[in-house]
Symmetry: C2
Subunit: 191 residues, 2 copies
DNA sequence: ATATTACGAGACGAATAGTTCCGAAACTGA
DNA sequence: TCAGTTTCGGAACTATTCGTCTCGTAATAT
């Protein structure tokens, strides 16, 4: 590679500024000029790295999240509690909270972005769900496990709904109740 | 009221054109000029009725939906099946599917719009959930019913997740499995 | 040393939201 | 009948923002 190398501090400044503007203004009011100004960077430096505003927001909101598979908690209850809290927390950061619905909306018009979301984030989250499910089956806590995506949607869906639509019940009690109800749903053996 | 009255055919043409453009282009690519052209109407006629593009889309996507409380199906299983299908269908129309994530994103920056969504649509959906829950309690099928919003989120959340994020499992089998699992979740009595 | 790329700054064109004006039409009330 | 008011389609207009491009300068490879 010839020429002047990219400055890693510019990389970080752009991502940090994007998260900052995202948290302060929300996705719909985020402008690339504002991000460039907040980062102390020219717009060209941004478009040299990301093809569009969508890509920039995607990178800032999704790339930073490292979803660790929770360790074996010893019981389905413990594993589910950890899983619910991990998903709830990862969607509750100001950045993720501001970006998620806009990104999901973008997926409808940009399937390639949706695919990358699938690979980058969703696959790891699904692995966490699958691991918890497998352990519960191995322990004998679950006889007839559901489809993984269904189990995943039974956790992610209500968390999303609580975050963006309902938001009445208090956070802790919502998480506690959700764990109890999802556990019952997963344990159920169709007759 | 003095002056020329508004033409009801213009009202309908605007809403129909909005739904049409929404289905064809998606929310993010919908332009007010395109709606006006498709409706054979001037832009002023649109802005005379709606304060912003958001309001227009909100009216076109949410106002048309009439959510009938499903009748007593005789059992929790039957009521839940009807409820899941009603929610799934109402979100599956091309209009609703294209508009929903964008509208949810708008709610973050426009709480007034979120409030009107709550009053216009969510309240009725919650009433349907509540009715089914009450009947199940009366029948003795449920001992300890969950918070209504939690029950609501246990249905709406997974449906939303399936529609916009997962979409792998086939529609009918997803609905069938979801009913079974949600029923188990609702029937569960915490010990 | 020269070629190449990155840098901040900012000008630029295209697209779009929302406003305003036009002349014509429709309705109310006197 | 007629003056006043509002709507109509159409189009011009402003302001904002995305994304591109050009400038002069700095950093690196060969």
């Amino acid at each position: 590679m010839v020429g002047r190398p990219r400055d890693a501090r510019v990389d970080q400044a752009i991502l940090a500024a994007t998260r900052e503007v995202l948290a302060e203004q929300g996705y719909s009011r985020l402008t690339v000029d504002a991000v460039a100004a907040a980062a102390g960077v020219g717009k060209a430096a941004i478009y040299r790295r990301y093809a569009s505003k969508h890509e920039l927001v995607f990178a800032a909101a999704v790339h930073g999240v490292d979803l660790e598979p929770p360790p074996d908690g010893g019981s389905l209850t413990a594993d589910l509690t950890a899983l619910v809290w991990e998903i709830l927390d990862s969607l509750s950061t100001p950045t993720a909270r501001a970006a998620a619905p806009g990104l999901i909306s973008d997926f409808l018009s940009d399937p390639a972005l949706a695919d990358r979301f699938e690979e980058t984030f969703l696959a790891r989250e699904r692995a966490c769900v699958g691991a918890a499910l497998d352990r519960a089956v191995a322990r004998g806590e679950i006889e007839a496990p559901p489809e993984r995506d269904l189990a995943h949607s039974l956790i992610l869906g209500p968390v999303f709904a609580w975050l963006y639509i309902f938001r009445r019940q208090e956070r802790e009690s919502f998480a506690r109740d959700l764990v109890v109800r999802v556990e019952a749903a997963l344990r159920h053996t169709p007759s």
